[in-house]
Amino acid sequence: MIPLFNKDGLVVLESLSFTNTLYAFDFDGTLAKIVREPSSAKMSSETHSLMVQLSKLVPVAIISGRSVLDLKKRVAFKPKFLIGNHGLEIQGNENSHLVSASNMCAQWLNILRKTKFSYGIEIEDKKFSLSIHYRKSRKKANARMEIKKVLETLDPKPQILLGKCVFNIVPTGAPHKGTALLRLLKDANIKHAFYIGDDDTDEDIFSLPYQSGQIFTVRVGEKKKSHASYFIKNQREINKIIKLLIKYHQSNVGSKGMKGTK
């Protein structure tokens, strides 16, 4: 994992603009900063305005743990692709696995709502997955143990995706962010992707089988065990990346052989 903002990182980032590339972003912790109340997370007005500009130049995707419905409320522009529920939900694509995921989540929710959790633990129903947040809990280690214990009792057993102060649960074997991104690339007939995310759930993309140059991965925050290739220091640097992408693509406008703009 090396810093994105050095010569090597910037050369590859720029070279992505010479070919047909999909630019995909995680939402919480990447486009929007992490906040105490997940329902109040939003992009800064500058990030929003930059994303509007970028999405006019290149195909953009937002891949998040939030539901597509929730994302739509927070993203006022129209990215080419919206992926919700950790890759399970692709906008405009109703699949049979969504029906079974929804039924399973309703079953789990029923049990979880009957459970008396300590203060600070909150359940979020995202229809096709559930999130159990403990950011507000004062004793986070205890909250983690408590949630883990309850999740172990669920039947059928869910797949647990750990996030920042959150346990996300999805049906076992459900598509994840990595499979969703590969599907987008295939469906849109795009060879290369840029992806930036901050969370453990993003490792599903960071650790996709490495075919050199196919997926350019960036993590928000350096982490030794991450499979991402590059990192930026923190979420505040996101605007710097979007500005660079806009600059690279604008300088290609009118240039022969440009394929990135769609």
Binding site: G9, V11, S15, T19, S212, K256, G257
Partner: protein, 135 residues
């Protein structure tokens, strides 16, 4: 002259033509045909390995290294550290390289248009090269 001798003569003349073409284009435009072939592949392969690039161009990796050195010297490509393995290097085309590639293609258009007389035989020629490159 037998057909076989005539074919060999043509092959020789064709070889000479390419050699002269390469010298002229490198002198006047700054890129040879071999270098164009590498840059052309590289534009669609950001951050690739030399091995993958050689496979795409259809040459042995050892053949490619000289071309890569020349292109790097001209700042047409940049060798970068592989973020997943610091012992390895990856290759990316630079903006200067992209501009040079476009300039080459614009300059070369009159010549490549002349080649269009072989349009009907292009598939035959491609099959011939595919077969013989493998041998």
């Amino acid at each position: 002259m037998t057909t076989e001798s005539r074919s060999l003569q043509l092959l020789f003349r064709f070889g000479n033509l390419i050699q002269n073409f390469n010298k002229k284009s490198e002198k006047e435009i700054g890129i040879s045909l071999a270098q164009w072939s590498v840059l052309k592949q590289l534009i669609d392969m950001p951050g690739t390995s030399a091995f993958n690039l050689a496979q795409s161009v259809g040459v042995h990796p050892s053949t490619l290294s000289q071309t890569l050195k020349r292109l790097e010297k001209k700042n047409f490509l940049h060798l970068i550290e592989d973020p997943k393995d610091s012992r390895k290097k990856l290759i990316s085309i630079t903006k200067v390289g992209k501009t040079a590639l476009e300039s080459f293609e614009n300059n070369i258009r009159p010549f490549s248009e002349k080649l269009s007389v072989f349009e009907k035989d292009i598939d035959k020629l491609s099959t011939f090269l595919d077969t013989n490159e493998k041998n």
